[in-house]
Symmetry: C2
């Protein structure tokens, strides 16, 4: 007696999934044959290039983003005004020391937001190597005063997720200058957040604390961090000379770029997909986050090409200023709150355009369970990982107890070879990997739009 | 009453797996911090380089392999003699055509085993484009006679596994020359087996048929295949001029390189792990298959470093001549049969040093089920795919109804960007991805040695 309804359920389930199986197959087929993501990325990287908030390149990227969304024949395309910080590196930095071989120039890059060493002037101090802020704090102030503190803790290679390795290491970069300044240091040099040994310095954001002197901060390549460390062992009073030219200017006006396909049944309920259109000022911002931007655009392009009409409004947001302020993400969430917009889900791609492995879900257990039911649909595409975790910086301010935030999780092994460095260029993004990510994002949005229970 | 034994089973299971969990964690930790695989690969690629069977570089690779295994302090290291084909490319090939712009040189590479166009001499013929052997066979012989047949079927981008895309396309390369020759063609040009559009010609093996004239065969880069195809559309009687210098010499003596850790309980029962030490003569054979070679060596290095004493004999085999004859794989299987060696399992890595995704198992359903029980042990390392499938060319001749053949399955998206081309160089192998593969192989061998039921 109880078997009959079970059977019906099983049949409905099988039938539904068979349909979805076909739709996902079509999405992947389309992405792997008709996607514009790779060509879009080439333009963004090669014709515009690095695009830090407040720069003219960031303005060009906004104009490009709007133009590109307009070409998709969406229902709405508009700019959302925000103000952004404006920091410029100026001329490339110089750091060197002398040893018995003569002058040794290190491969360095000022951290984003750093003050300069003063008008075209080298500063000089004995270098003090530590592995952590804790190790620094255990030292007497007199040991630190007047010195250049060198934070040299490497990312832990044993962590399989390189984002975990980054998370447990990046405090040096973000807070190192302030902590060293409190003890009287004159500058800091930070080992680049990179698991590889190579010659690229990796910049990134840092913060100063009110009431604490702002001192200049530099990243040094991993090879040169190792070289400097060896030299410190052999030369007890090694001195570093450092020069940087960076400067913070008044805030500027900039924009999030937004496009929408209106929902056929629930036009006032939103599913957001996005990446950030700004990048650091070195390299081309290809993996971080040109890839996420063109994948997010591609989600709407694929829906349009396949004539998949969503029930809810699908909104793509190219967020400005993720790298040094998150003003785009904050502004978007503020606007959503003040307009009382109902947001069901937001999906971000900001972990590079590598082979997609799964999704990182910042939501309720129930939401994770609902999404996990679709696992078998994704398996043919190598998508296996549906886990609770952080979703993305730009969408994070949307968090409340209802919305489900989701991050695309690509393979993370190569990400920090590129991140925030001159090595983050178009050539290192693989077309197929990028397209598979876009197809995975589109598939998830298709299923959420179709089945979401709230 | 029935709950008690179940509980005991569950406890035993949990306890056993907790131990294995720890051992796998140690294997991965060790691989990610103490592996020599990457440095070994650098030597093999940069100090030896391309190493086609019969070349002096292949001899150097054998000597290096033996030296490297000897440095691991194994129980046995020896060479296994085989004879190998000896084909040489000679000077790089030239193929060109004229159009209204003048002379257009194409980026080409003779296929491995091809005959030359004759002593330092161009041959010339009208080009005929086809998409498949079937399309060719449907043509009248008179349409083909005296012409150069251009096989231009691209790999199918919709197939998620690029190896499936390769498998359904490579017939053009292997048999195209023979089929075209049967209809009177004077040469063939084959679109490179590459999913990307780029400038690298990709060589690879081809065969001739007895009683059919051997005609010269070339691979052309995907960009130039597209360019040639466009020109054919606009110039009905486009003629290609082709020159190649390749030559087959008498077979030479070469070797498989073998090392063993003797089993503590079953020294006469073997688990083999290997990759192939030969490569094509262009590029550096980094992904194909330097990666597999250094990963296989690393399995024994990790077992030694961790003092994990296997019950069965673990044998690493650096196979010679996978690329153009598989004499190493055939010779190894023959020797195993004539010595009546009992082989439990053989594991091959010959799909590149990319992030490992799973294992491809060529064995019985029961063997697949046994191995699949360990799935949860591998999940923390991103290994999810345990599927029936082809395991590897070198180990394939060992196949009988008892042995389980297994291939490491790394992410396949980038493999054919490199395969058999000048683009297969050390710089494109990521250290962590390589090490994760070696750790996955070691973990599987550890579990099979511990639990195998036969």
């Amino acid at each position: 007696m109880r078997i009959f309804p079970l059977l019906v359920c099983a049949l409905i389930y099988t039938f539904t999934f068979a349909q979805d199986d076909k739709t996902l197959r079509s999405i992947y087929d389309m992405a792997l044959t008709k996607s514009e993501a790779y060509d879009n990325l080439r333009y963004l990287c090669k014709d515009i290039g690095a695009r830090l908030s407040g720069s003219s390149e960031a303005d060009s990227a906004v104009a490009w983003g709007k133009r590109t969304l307009e070409s998709l024949n969406l229902d709405t395309v508009y700019l959302q005004e925000i103000t952004v910080p404006h920091w410029e590196r100026g001329k490339r930095e110089k750091v060197y020391f002398f040893n018995e071989k003569g002058k040794n120039a290190l491969k360095v890059s000022a951290l984003g937001g750093s003050v300069s060493t003063g008008l075209n002037q080298f500063i000089k101090g004995q270098v003090l190597e530590v592995k952590s802020i804790e190790e620094l704090n255990d030292l007497e102030d007199s040991m630190v005063r007047g010195k250049v503190v060198f934070f040299n803790r490497p990312m832990d290679p044993k962590l399989i997720s390189t984002f975990s390795a980054y998370g447990s290491c990046v405090d040096q970069r973000y807070a190192g200058a302030t902590e060293a300044s409190k003890k009287g240091a004159i500058a800091v040099v930070i080992r680049s957040m990179n698991l590889r040994n190579d010659d690229f310095p990796h910049t990134g954001s840092m913060g100063y604390e009110e009431g604490v002197d702002s001192i200049p901060a530099f990243a040094v390549s991993t090879n040169d961090a190792n070289y400097l460390s060896e030299n410190i062992k052999n030369h007890k009073e090694l001195e570093l000379s450092l020069k940087s030219h960076c400067k913070t200017y008044p805030d500027r006006i900039s924009y999030n770029v937004i496009g929408e396909i209106k929902g056929s049944e629930y036009p006032n309920e939103y599913i957001t997909v996005g990446g950030h259109i700004d990048s650091w000022d070195i390299g081309e911002g290809a993996q971080d986050d040109g890839a996420g931007v063109v994948q997010s655009i591609e989600v709407l392009h694929l829906l349009k090409m396949m004539d998949l009409k969503p029930k809810h409004t699908i909104r793509v947001v190219l967020f400005m200023n993720e790298e040094n302020g998150n003003r785009g993400g904050l502004g978007y969430a503020e606007r959503a709150a003040s307009e009382k917009e109902k947001h069901l889900m937001a999906l971000e791609s900001d972990r590079g355009g590598f082979s997609p492995r799964g999704f990182s879900i910042n939501g309720t257990e129930k939401q994770l369970n609902e999404i996990s039911k679709w696992k078998s649909l994704f398996e043919p595409y190598g998508i296996h990982e549906f886990k609770m975790g952080f979703a993305g910086v730009d969408i994070n301010p949307l968090k409340d107890d209802k919305i489900c935030l989701i991050g695309l999780s690509p393979d993370s092994q190569r990400y920090f070879d590129h991140h925030h460095s001159d090595n983050d260029i178009f050539e290192h993004v693989n077309k197929r990997e990028l397209e598979l990510g876009a197809a995975s994002m589109t598939s998830l949005i298709y299923l959420i739009d179709k089945y979401w229970i709230y």
